[in-house]
């Protein structure tokens, strides 16, 4: 079996003591930072990027994947214990998880989240391994116009799924793409929007931009609102679910995993969409719908399995097609580029140990999180009691050093400061920043594929609609836009995406 052969290569890489250690540290640091309020996976990864610079590419990626899952898991912990979602994919966990905690069942809720995530992680790892081969083969069928259509679809879906009005999401995507054009035009070699500043010739770096918007500007916002954390103070004693809990959580985990695995693959999908969809599904199917919102265990088991499965399978489009499906994946592209790996169909063939090692270490990471988190929950909760006035300067320090060490230059530091101001404007105007970053990352590839497609068709844009593959991708994008315009769906979307 090819699949098992490949997984064996992967586990051989992932199980090297050094790599195990990096996976462990990644999970530990990811959870540590992810638990802190106001820091989602994106800011966490951006902050911890510099510590991976010195590593070998495979070790660095393994560590980053660990950080990602750790951050994801840290978010769920705070969602349950203090009713504060560390990131948007654990928003739904707060609904029933926090209620469980208030009823003295925080331990059970945390254990449910951990077991659900682990189970989902196992399934998603297998799905990723099984789908990677065929999808990479599909990538070979993709010409410039198909890639163009796929990326347009991804960006449209990302705007549909962002908070706030759809049209503003589109505006942010386009603005991000325009910002991505700063620097050298690869086809002609001429400089665009660089205004003679040599540091801009290579384009706007993704990391300072992300840190400015998601790190610094977010801090300014957090300082404005002095909300008190509603910490559940009682000791977390019992971790073990009762027999009745198990009976109710297992089917929810299975459904959540299936849903998350599917939705994660979609461009624009991923953890957030999966968790919302799973919660809705569980509430619909449950025999006790009246318990939802009052501590129903399915409301934790389903979404937590779904977001982990989605988080994992959202690597599929990135690793096989080179198209990041959400902002975290976009940041992963940035991280990989630093190590001179360009995600896409070639990674699997050219660098199989790295590719399969990464996949295997995702599973290893999930296992570590399970072992790491349950005993350490008490410690994570303690972290939350650190006053924010000591915490945010620490975030500033790590982000600043991180930004500096991208190029060992202060230009990136100033860039981050500028985007801090810009990010603050976005927060005040309630414009979503995620579509902007996705546009920024996909912009150059979209332009290149668009130009190539037009060269091949001699400037005939209708070719995008006559090729069956690109036509169906664009049709899917059009359907998404039409659906979002329908008043009923619009109302439900606003309800679901409300923070």
């Amino acid at each position: 079996m090819d699949l098992f052969h490949n997984l064996a290569i992967g586990f051989a890489t992932a199980a090297q003591p050094a790599n195990l250690l990096y996976a462990f540290f990644g999970c530990l640091l990811g959870t540590l930072i992810g638990v802190l309020p106001g820091l989602g996976p994106l800011a966490t990864i951006a902050m911890l990027l510099p510590i991976t610079y010195a590593l070998q590419p495979d070790a660095a990626l393994i560590m980053l994947a660990g950080i990602y899952y750790g951050a994801q898991y840290g978010g769920s912990t705070t969602a349950i214990v203090v009713n504060l979602p560390g990131e948007s994919s654990s928003v739904v966990t707060t609904i029933d998880g926090y209620q469980m905690a208030k009823q003295g069942r925080a331990g059970v809720a945390l254990a449910t989240a951990a077991i659900g995530s682990f189970f989902a992680g196992c399934v998603a790892t297998l799905a990723l391994a099984a789908l990677a081969g065929p999808l990479t083969a599909t990538a070979l069928l993709f010409g410039p116009k198909e890639f163009f259509a796929l990326m347009v679809l991804g960006l449209i879906l990302a705007s549909v799924l962002s908070s706030g009005p759809f049209i503003e999401g589109i505006g942010m995507v386009v603005l991000g793409m325009l910002l991505s054009l700063v620097g050298t035009d690869l086809s002609s070699g001429s400089q665009r929007f660089a205004f003679g500043i040599p540091q801009l010739f290579d384009g706007l770096d993704f990391v300072p931009l992300a840190m400015g918007i998601f790190g610094f500007a977010e801090i300014v916002k957090n300082l404005e609102q002095d909300d008190k954390l509603s910490l559940v103070t009682q000791k977390i004693t019992n971790l073990f679910p009762t027999r009745d809990d198990v009976r109710r959580m297992v089917p929810a985990m299975l459904r959540g995993t299936a849903l998350g695995t599917l939705l994660g693959v979609l461009p624009g999908g991923g953890a957030v969409l999966s968790s919302f969809a799973s919660y809705t599904l569980e509430k619909k199917l449950s025999r006790y719908p009246e318990q939802f919102g009052k501590g129903a265990i399915e409301g934790v088991a389903g979404p937590e399995s779904a977001n982990n499965a989605g988080a994992q399978t959202s690597f599929i489009p990135l690793l096989t097609l080179g198209v990041p499906s959400n902002v975290v994946m976009a940041l992963m592209v940035g991280a990989m580029n630093i190590h001179n790996i360009h995600p896409g169909p070639e990674v699997m063939t050219k660098n199989p140990t790295l590719f399969w090692g990464l996949i295997a270490s995702m599973w290893v990471g999930n296992l570590m999180l399970l072992i790491l988190n349950l005993p350490l929950v008490g410690l994570w909760v303690k972290l939350l009691t650190i006053p924010y006035r000591y915490l945010f300067p620490a975030i500033m320090v790590f982000c600043s050093i991180g930004v500096y060490s991208i190029n060992s230059g202060t230009f990136e530091v100033y860039e981050a400061a500028v985007f801090c101001v810009f990010g603050y404007v976005l927060i005040k105007l309630q414009l979503p920043a995620a579509p902007l970053l996705l546009g920024l990352v996909l912009g150059p590839a979209i332009e290149e594929n668009f130009r190539r497609a037009m060269v091949l068709s001699r400037g005939d844009a209708t070719v995008l609609l006559t090729s069956p593959l690109s036509a169906s991708l664009l049709a899917a994008a059009a359907i998404a836009i039409i659906l979002i315009m329908l008043p009923t769906i619009r109302a439900r979307r606003e309800e679901a995406l409300q923070e």
């Binding site: 793409m177 325009l178 300082l223």
Partner: protein, 155 residues
């Protein structure tokens, strides 16, 4: 024209932001040759995107002035907090080489701490000492990142 009052100030400002960026990018892109659709120059795609962004901006602006638009004001701005945070980052960049990491981090922590309404001198000082020591241990001695550690005068 009673119907044309700005009802949603937030959306209106967002639309103006989009429009301003669109105009900026379009005008700048006019310097670059556009070429034809079959042989695009460096100016073609930026112009196309700028036109799309301008259209989005206009739709958002008009939407904010529709009589049916949701009435929404602009949020309160806290420019002081923003100035302390952004300013501390700029200072870090400016002081890293003259003062070294030790000095620059110290300034960064002290200045950014001022953004908090709960600022105290002793708390910020203690935090600065701890964080500077931690960063030296982790980044300079632990990870071996190339950073200027001490003020350049001492070298």
């Amino acid at each position: 024209m009673k119907g044309l009052a700005i009802r949603n100030h937030r959306a209106f400002a967002s639309g103006v932001l989009f429009l301003a960026f669109a105009i900026f990018f379009f005008v700048t892109a006019l310097q670059y040759p556009a070429g034809t659709a079959a042989r695009m120059g460096p100016g073609y795609f930026p112009r196309l995107l700028a036109i799309v962004l301008a259209a989005v901006g206009l739709i958002v602006i008009l939407g904010a002035m529709k009589p049916t638009a949701e009435a929404q004001g602009l949020r309160q701005w806290d420019l002081k907090g923003l100035a302390w945070i952004a300013g501390s980052v700029i200072l870090f960049g400016a002081l890293l080489f003259p003062l070294g990491l030790v000095g620059a981090l110290f300034v960064l922590v002290m200045v950014s701490s001022r953004a908090s309404p709960e600022f105290t001198w002793t708390g910020a000082l203690a935090n600065a000492v701890v964080l500077t020591a931690l960063c030296l241990a982790v980044f300079v001695y632990g990870l071996g990142l190339q950073l200027p550690v001490w003020p350049s005068l001492l070298n």
